[in-house]
């Protein structure tokens, strides 16, 4: 457990020393979401309808942006080898790295989402549901993304390839995440969507580190 905390601390420390990467992903999120009204038009009823989907798709893309940097630096400087050879099980270390990735890319998105929601004229209740849905959904994005990042490690054109592998797998998260906000707006209640999102998260917490670990071992062979 200490090792997990240590790797989270290390990755956060590294993120602090390379602030620009974290900030780039955040501004990307804001800019993409702000482009939609410019492309679609300022009519607030329409914007309210598309808001959950737009914010979620932007969150997917922003998460994707950070994925290439999840394991690549550790792979390049040999730290990944040492992680594999550490007495601590690799699965735990990988979970720690994914947690750190979420704290640096997912959590800021959750905190920024209400601001974007206001741009799209969402009311307070919908903003709350949006935050809860993102809180459940962004760890899911980091977990699934880690599998793709590990599979494309050291592969030609890995950065583009990872989006091809991961985006189709993001579909359920997108559907339930955006759906939660939509059904709240239409008065149906977001409970069903949110609990399904939580179930998916539980499933991913269980399986994704395992698949990521296997993929990392293969990339080091």
């Amino acid at each position: 457990m200490n090792a997990v905390l240590a790797i989270i601390r290390r990755d956060l420390l590294l993120a602090m020393r390379r602030k620009s990467e974290v900030l780039t992903a955040l501004f990307f999120f804001i800019i993409v979401a702000s482009l939609f009204p410019l492309g679609i038009g300022p009519e607030s009823a329409l914007l309210r309808t598309i808001a959950p989907g737009v914010i979620w798709v932007s969150a997917l893309l922003a998460t994707m942006l950070g994925l290439a940097r999840l394991f690549a630096p550790d792979h390049a400087d040999g730290t990944l080898e040492q992680m594999v050879l550490s007495p601590t099980p690799l699965g735990l270390l990988v979970t720690g790295k994914i947690a750190a990735h979420w704290i640096t890319t997912g959590l800021p998105l959750v905190l920024l989402a209400p601001v974007l929601g206001i741009q799209f004229d969402l009311d307070v209740g919908a903003l709350g549901v949006l935050v809860v849905a993102l809180l459940l959904g962004t760890p899911l994005l980091s977990l699934i993304g880690a599998i793709g990042a590990a599979l494309t490690l050291g592969v030609r054109g890995g950065g583009v390839l990872v989006s091809l592998l991961v985006l189709p797998l993001y579909v359920p998260a997108l559907i339930f995440g955006a759906g939660a906000v939509e059904s709240h707006i239409s008065g149906l209640g977001a409970g069903g969507h949110l609990s399904l999102l939580a179930a998916l998260l539980a499933l991913a917490v269980f399986f994704a580190p395992w698949a990521t670990t296997a993929a990392l071992r293969i990339s080091l062979e």
């Binding site: 040999g78 730290t79 080091l220």
Partner: protein
């Protein structure tokens, strides 16, 4: 005691070596020699359990390393071509965090004394990326000194070291062997260490 029997290694379409046997006991060290591409690094990675052998088996204290898993990894230290040193972190942070990832703790006093021993005094708080190549290798040597492992597997440990650092490293390895440790090294040049057995690939 590390023993390997009938190891063979296939890379892509090429068979690098086959039917390789080796044994290293306490206080012994093995010098793996061979041309570029002969499979020195591949052999070391197999011994370190980073990649599985195409055929054959590696045993530690009589047990297969695949069964021992964590116990073997605790007893073994591997240094590859890349230093496993984070450029953005200071030498001090590198040492303490590496120890924590291994599940042990390293207090600041010990870490500092190890860094000083390798002539990194005054560099503790400078990010590694501002250090010279030789100084970066010294951070690694400090890591060797603080990590308690019986078996050292070192891939080209003497590259990019100045004369003084070479002496330090060979002294380090000698005292490791004297204390009953084992070492497996690869190197292009002749080793500044006595009594090594030679394995040619």
């Amino acid at each position: 005691m590390l023993t390997a029997t009938g190891l063979s290694c296939v890379r892509g379409e090429r068979r690098l070596f086959a039917g390789l046997d080796l044994a290293v006991g306490p206080g012994e060290w093995l010098h793996v020699q061979g041309e570029n591409g002969a499979g020195k690094t591949s052999l070391l990675r197999i011994l370190a359990t980073l990649s599985p052998p195409a055929e054959g088996e590696v045993r530690w204290q009589g047990e297969p390393v695949t069964v021992l898993a964590e116990d073997y990894r605790r007893a073994m230290l591997f240094l590859g071509h890349h230093g496993a040193v984070k450029e953005e972190l200071t030498p001090l942070e590198n040492l303490t965090l590496a120890a924590q990832l291994d599940g042990t703790t390293l207090d600041e006093a010990n870490a500092l004394s190890a860094l000083m021993r390798f002539g990194l005094r005054g560099r503790e708080d400078l990010a590694v990326r501002f250090l010279s190549a030789g100084q970066k290798r010294r951070v690694l040597l400090a890591r060797l000194a603080v990590r308690k492992a019986t078996l050292w597997i070192l891939d080209e440990p003497f590259t990019a070291l100045d004369v003084k650092a070479v002496d330090m490293l060979s002294g380090l390895i000698e005292s490791h062997l004297a204390a009953g440790g084992m070492a497996i090294l690869t190197s292009h040049q002749s080793m500044p260490l006595p009594n090594g057995r030679i394995l040619s690939l």
